[in-house]
Every structure is written in C-alpha cells, then in structure tokens.
C-alpha cells in the first residue's frame, strides 16, 4: 500500500558504491554547471559541480576538490576542505563532514566542521555538533547538537627583526652579588 511520506525510488534504487570515492569518478553523475541553491549560485557559476543522484548510496569516505551536491545517501565521511558541500533536499548523510561551506537542505546525522559557513535551510535537519565561524539556521530547520562558533585565538605575532648574529652567553653563576653587595638568589 502506498503510504504518505514513503519515498518512491526509481528502478535502479539501491545502487551501492562501497569504498573511497572521489567526486568526478566515472560512474558518478558528473554534471557541469549544476547550480547550487541561490545564495551560492554566483560562487558556483564558473565551477563544475558534482551531483550525486537520489538513487546513489555511498558507504565509505568521500573526498574531492570541487563543489558537490548530494541528493543520495552517504554513510561514512565527506571531506571537501576547500569547497562547497550541498546536501540536497533528498540527501541523507550519516557522516562526519568537513568542508569550506556546508549547505543543508536534507538530513545530516553526524558532526559538521566548516572553515567558512554552515547554512541549514528550513527543510534541513542536523543531528550532530557543528563547528564553524558562521552558522545560519532558517526557521523550521531542525538541529540537535551543539554549535561552536568560537574564533580561534590569533597566532601570536612575532615581530620580524633583522637577522642578528647569535651571541652565546656564558652561563651565569647560581648566585651573583647585588649592587650593594647583597646576594640575590638566582631564579
């Protein structure tokens, strides 16, 4: 019987890809100029975007160096350090996610780490912790977990000085006489 909410899968539903897969791998739907959601449209205009279709199931590690839209199911780990990951409205991730920007319109179960931004749209659902300097969550979105927007402390600035010849000093004695002849304990 047809039930409301039950996804009707295409005939090739359940095709499973196991192991590490890189976007752009032959066999995966490599679709040039597929636009990501509106806000990222400009960003992706001049880039190729790999699209993982609804019927694709991936188990394992997914990494790459181009933007990626996932409409299928991924179970494992997704790593796109310098690129945009979009979890489409049909996408289901049960994975640790690392990317520059993560846009969620579907479901993610797992922690998300983004170096730039995480954007959860109204249809999006995240069950996990988020680490990102910027987080946008639309009304109606679901989130269960923590959000860490902590700015990392800036690296201590070391003044650049002209190279000086290194001078080695002779070690001081354990105690030296003070100006008035008093002994000052070292340390």
């Amino acid at each position: 019987m047809w039930r409301r909410g039950e996804v009707v899968r295409p005939p090739d539903s359940g095709r499973e890809v196991t192991g590490a897969v890189a976007p752009g791998t032959p066999g995966l739907a490599s679709v040039p100029r597929v636009h990501a959601p509106e806000t990222e449209a400009k960003r992706t205009m001049d880039k190729d975007v790999v699209n993982i279709g609804k019927s694709v199931v991936i188990k394992g590690e997914l990494s790459g160096s181009e933007d990626l839209v996932i409409e299928g199911t991924v179970d494992g780990k997704v790593e796109l350090s310098e690129h945009v990951l979009t979890v489409g409205s049909h996408g289901k991730l049960k994975a640790e996610v690392f990317a520059k920007i993560v846009i969620v319109l579907g479901e993610v179960v797992g922690n998300i780490t983004a170096s730039e931004k995480v954007d959860i749209r109204d249809s999006g659902s995240v069950d996990g912790d988020i680490v990102s300097p910027r987080v946008a969550i639309a009304e109606g979105a679901h989130l269960r977990g923590s959000v860490d927007m902590q700015k990392k402390p800036a690296a201590p600035v070391v003044p650049v000085q002209a190279a000086k010849p290194e001078v080695k000093l002779a070690p001081l004695p354990a105690a030296t006489p003070g100006p008035g002849g008093q002994r000052i304990a070292a340390g």
């Binding site: 946008a136 009304e139 679901h142 923590s146 927007m149």
Partner: protein, 233 residues
C-alpha cells in the same frame, strides 16, 4: 450561564483579586496586561544581566532548552564567543506527551540531559516551566542545577495566571536587551503559574541574582550557582 462562561468569569475574577502574588516592585495593573501580539518586542533586563555575567568568561558553554532559532545562535556565538548547545525540550515534551503518560515525565526529564555535571556556564530556560507540572519542573530543576558550573547562570521566564491556556512563544533575541516574542503552533498548553517562592525552592542550590517583572506580567529570573547573588530567604 454556560460552564465555559462561568470558568471565564471566575478566572477573570481571580485575576482581579490578585491570585498571583506579584513580584517585588510590581505595579498593581501589571499582571492584567495582555500578552504581546505576534512579533511584539520586549525589553529584557534579565538578558542584559545574563550576557554581562557570561561575557566575563572565555568561551563559555551555553545550553538552550528552547526551539532552534538561527539568529539566537548567531547572536550568542558572536557576543559570547561561546559553544552553543541546543536541546529543544519543547519538542521533546510534545513528543513525550503524545507517546507516553505524563506520570513518566519527571523520571524521563531527570535523565534527558546527559551532559556531565558542572560543565555548563549558562542555561536559557525561556518559558519552559509554564508547561510543566510541579513534579516534572522539580526533576528538571535538579538536573539543571547539577549541570551548571559554579557561578554559572540560568535565565528563565515565568508567566502568571493571565497567561494560562495560551501556547508557547518563540523568543528571538534582537540585541543585548530586546527580545521578540512570537507565538507558535504547539499542542502544549500553559499551566497555572508558579509562585516566586516555589520557583526558588525548586532551584535549590542556586541563588536569585536578579528578578524583573515585564510589562506583559511575565517574570524574568536570573539564577546563579554560588557566587555573590541575593541569598534565598
């Protein structure tokens, strides 16, 4: 007169007689003011105090017990540079009441928050306590007191008898002292309000740092764990 009309008129009479003991500094008519309309903005002094208290800490951990509001996460993240944890107990409460009996709620609430003791710097309770019965409220209070770090803070809003029967509101923080209240669809119905002394007793182990009465009749209470708050009398 119909029974519904009788109940309404009795409720109105009770509110006029002052069935709810007003908080310190209450204006006589404050309790009878209506709940703000959709999107009304309130000035929150409790939030100011909460922020200034937590602002002195580096990278505090904040626990929000309300529904997910993106702008709140952004606001607290930017203001406090904090780790923000969302545990939507309103949604959980709805689910629990649909699937289980209310008698199980206190036991369930006492186990619901699985964080380690003394790990949270601030708790945003919002108006959750208006939807809990006393045993459930007590169980949650005990769990929250356990979670708070020494000198941690807890901010809660508590309605009065005039708010009974209304549904929950979403609190959207606009800035350090203004909050927009928006009613939202929910099966939860506000129960009779708690007296100040009952709230204080429930949060045994915390001190009332500040308490404010809003123009809507709501009470804002800021609790602190230990530290130099107002002693409980």
């Amino acid at each position: 007169m119909s029974s519904g009309g009788t109940v309404q008129s009795l409720r109105g009479l009770l509110s006029r007689l002052g069935s709810v003991r007003p908080a310190e500094g209450t204006r006589p008519d404050a309790g009878s003011r209506a709940e703000p309309k959709d999107g009304a903005i309130i000035t929150s002094k409790g939030l100011q105090q909460f922020l200034s208290h937590l602002g002195t800490r580096s990278a505090p951990i904040l626990l929000d017990l309300g529904p997910v509001v993106g702008s709140n996460i952004t606001f607290f993240g930017e203001q406090l540079n904090c780790k923000f944890m969302v545990e939507d107990l309103f949604a959980d409460l709805e689910r629990h009441l649909r699937e289980r009996s209310p008698e199980e709620l206190p036991a369930w609430l006492s186990k619901r928050l699985t964080l380690d003791a003394g790990t949270v710097d601030g708790v945003l309770l919002w108006d959750l306590y208006d939807y809990l019965d006393r045993p459930a409220a007590q169980a949650l209070a005990t769990a929250l007191v356990r979670l708070l770090r020494p000198d941690g803070a807890l901010l809660g809003f508590f309605g009065n008898a005039n708010h009974a029967g209304s549904g929950p509101t979403t609190f959207m923080v606009l800035d350090g002292s203004h909050v927009r209240q928006r009613p939202r669809a929910s099966v939860l119905v506000r129960r009779a309000s708690l007296q100040n002394r009952d709230i204080i007793k429930m949060f045994d182990g915390l001190r009332v740092s500040d308490a404010f009465l809003l123009q809507t009749g709501r009470r804002e209470m800021l609790f602190r764990k230990g530290g130099g708050g107002r002693p409980i009398t």
